[in-house]
């Protein structure tokens, strides 16, 4: 009987942890806009990334010091990958793809910095993974597919886009149109499912064995999985754009 009660409370705790809470509402223009905790985490990450990139390149010099080297290494890496995949158009998409990559890394690794409770100490806030909210991943995927459609128009024009829709044969039209829905859907669901799944598994691990095991399991589920998903999301976006402009 007590076991059933514990199982219920564990399930309730998981449901409570993965739920997206509305922290406050903005009343403007007759609308009431809910601001959830993921939006606040997004703002914090945005501020951190903007401040960080400003600090790293504040004093540019020809013989770079360590902070500038860090920024140059990242930008050089993004430029190299995009030019490898997109050819001579690489530079114009490097900023978008690099920002996407940086934001996803920050979003997936931020929960590792969350304060931990215990011994009667209740931290004032937790950093829960941002991408457990499907709205975040869906927005990112929508940005990617908008870039894909926009780049098709930019490099091929309206006629080239229409020609691409009926290639290689006219009866492929519905399938080619369906790609515009399936690509963002699979991008969004892959990121959301991986992060939410890893988060729930970590909650279960913490409930089963609070000492010793969580840091080791966290290396795989938080660090490795988060990094791999950030790489996969930005790499697939690069490939979709490369397909659209080739």
């Amino acid at each position: 009987m007590s076991e059933a009660g514990e199982a219920l409370s564990l399930g309730e705790r998981i449901s409570e942890s993965i739920a997206i809470k509305t922290v406050f509402r903005i009343e403007a223009l007759g609308l009431s806009i809910p601001i959830s905790d993921t939006v606040i985490t997004t703002w914090a990450l945005m501020a951190l990334l903007i401040l960080g990139s400003w600090l790293l390149v504040r004093r540019l010099r020809m013989a770079p010091r360590r902070p500038q080297l860090l920024a140059e290494a990242f930008v050089g890496f993004v430029n190299k990958i995009t030019e490898e995949k997109l050819g001579r158009h690489g530079r114009s998409y490097a900023a978008f793809l690099g920002t996407l990559f940086l934001f996803l890394i920050a979003a997936n690794l931020a929960p590792m910095l969350s304060p931990v409770g215990g011994f009667g100490f209740e931290p004032p806030f937790f950093i829960r993974p941002l991408t457990r909210d499907i709205n975040v991943t869906a927005a990112l995927a929508a940005a990617v597919i908008a870039t894909v459609v926009g780049s098709t128009f930019r490099h091929k024009g309206l006629r080239g886009w229409a020609k691409g829709l009926v290639s290689p044969m006219p009866f492929m039209l519905p399938f080619n149109l369906m790609e515009y829905a399936i690509k963002p859907l699979s991008l969004a669901l892959r990121l959301f499912g991986n992060i939410l799944g890893a988060y729930i598994i970590m909650l279960l691990v913490e409930a089963v064995m609070p000492l010793g095991l969580p840091p080791i399991a966290g290396l795989y589920f938080d660090l490795f999985d988060g990094l791999v998903q950030a790489v996969v999301f930005s790499f697939l976006s690069t490939i979709y754009i490369a397909e659209a402009i080739e």
Partner: protein, 74 residues
Amino acid sequence: MEASSAAFIGAGIAVLTGLGAGIGIGLATGKTSEAIARQPEASGKITGSFLLGIALAEATAIYGLVVALMLLFK
């Protein structure tokens, strides 16, 4: 049968998608070790595409997991 118990059974069936992902990742891993054994100098490139491949193969299992989680904690 109650709706909640049916949801539990459905969640169990949904995570059976892990079967396909397991087979796929197993095949990919086997071929990767074969490729690295043949050409150890290309192991960096092989590992890169292997990681991307398993991330794609894993997606089906993740979809099953998402469906199961939706059934369990909606």
